[in-house]
Subunit: 243 residues, 2 copies
């Protein structure tokens, strides 16, 4: 898929875009950058003048707490715009990192801001995107605050599955997550050891199966229930909430 089409589609999972808005987005200048696995894209404290779009691979945001404890804040898939906040906030308050080899597109803030100012449709799409990111963050907060290890991991899998599906990156119930168990732990507030045991439990229960980074959901309804998952918070427009 051409680069601009990717994030236009991503916005369309939330909001309808007319041809005028699409044209405006398509006209945005974009330069490219390839990033190695586990390399930081932006660092906390940095001042940034371009917004980035994930074109291929997987990206996460994270923060460090004292002692080198790491917390992953969000995952981002192709089409995602993981740093919309840099448009309005003067410095990064977290890091952005490649979880796999990644290709990103960079759009100068000035151009993006111009498009946002000129087109109400673009503006609303970007704002909505930002708000849904926050909604996902809130759901993660519930996960970490009030759910068991099994629920946390199951919930994360449900979420990733639906988000990937909305972008057409799943086949049947299969999808790819290039994450180590240690990274899964940093996202769910668990140790890698316990992630390991919990994944085994999920497999033993017949809910998912994995080999390497390829996962598949064997029993969506059961998984959903165990995870205490319901998809409303993703605010997906309508596409494919069946599975």
């Amino acid at each position: 898929m051409p680069n601009h089409a990717l994030f236009i589609r991503h916005l369309q999972t939330l909001v309808m875009l007319g041809s005028e808005e699409s044209a405006a987005l398509n006209a945005l200048p974009m330069r490219f950058r390839d990033v190695r696995k586990h390399q930081d894209i932006f660092r906390e404290g940095e001042r940034v003048s371009e917004s980035c779009i994930v074109l291929s691979g997987m990206v996460c945001r994270y923060k460090m707490a004292g002692d080198g404890r790491r917390q992953i804040l969000s995952f981002h898939f192709p089409g995602d715009m993981p740093d919309l906040q840099s448009l309005n906030l003067s410095y990064m308050d977290h890091n952005l990192m490649a979880l796999s080899p990644v290709r990103i597109g960079l759009i100068p803030h000035d151009d993006l801001r111009a498009a946002i100012n000129r087109h109400e449709g673009v503006r609303n799409a970007v704002i909505t995107r930002t708000l849904v990111d926050a909604a996902i963050l809130r759901q993660w907060l519930v996960n970490l605050g009030r759910r068991t290890a099994l629920e946390r991991i199951a919930h994360l899998f449900c979420e990733c599955y639906l988000r990937l599906q909305a972008m057409g990156h799943t086949e049947r119930a299969n999808f790819r997550l290039p994450l180590t168990q240690s990274e899964l732990g940093d996202a769910t507030g668990l140790s890698s050891v316990h992630v390991n045991r919990t994944m085994q439990e999920l497999r033993r229960m017949g809910l998912i199966s994995s080999n390497g980074n390829e996962h598949s959901i064997l029993d969506w309804e059961q998984l959903r229930q165990k995870a205490d998952f319901s998809p409303e918070y993703l605010h997906l427009r309508d596409t494919a909430l069946d599975a």
Copy 2:
């Protein structure tokens, strides 16, 4: 302080506003509503056509997980606009509740949207406000995922203190938080019993003292260190980061 001035000041803690923008905000129509302690203001699933502003008292957002486990997602003080997201998302994905007797102002979405569309300054202020809310959410995520009980509570106190201070609601190192220990637990992912013991520990260490809802910070620097707190994520404009 007059009602509009309250949230204008609140926006000004993040962003400078010119007289044109202030005038536009001042012109917004507002109706009022008084809410009893522990009453819901908006409920999950509801469709909302007005944005609300806290005029007095304290408000929180929360979600329920299965089994009646509750997670508080954010706290809001006078001047805050706790549901900016309802402007763009069609339904609430969480609840909004009064933690104390509360007076709120309600601004019709249409009027607010008009002001946002017309004035770039207003737009940027509101977007920035939304982004900082998300930044706070991310910090809470780090708290729940990677910090001990003591750190979580200490961190929450640091944050509330600075946010209240920015709005002029502190006297010296004293401030008021109308929260039960059980609510503190729901915000920090702990049980009320453990919150109790942790607060005692903080008092014993000479970091804070409390009677009822009145708290004071006895040793800011120590508290900050124990909490692993640094205020950058609040993106406060400059005012009073001394304490």
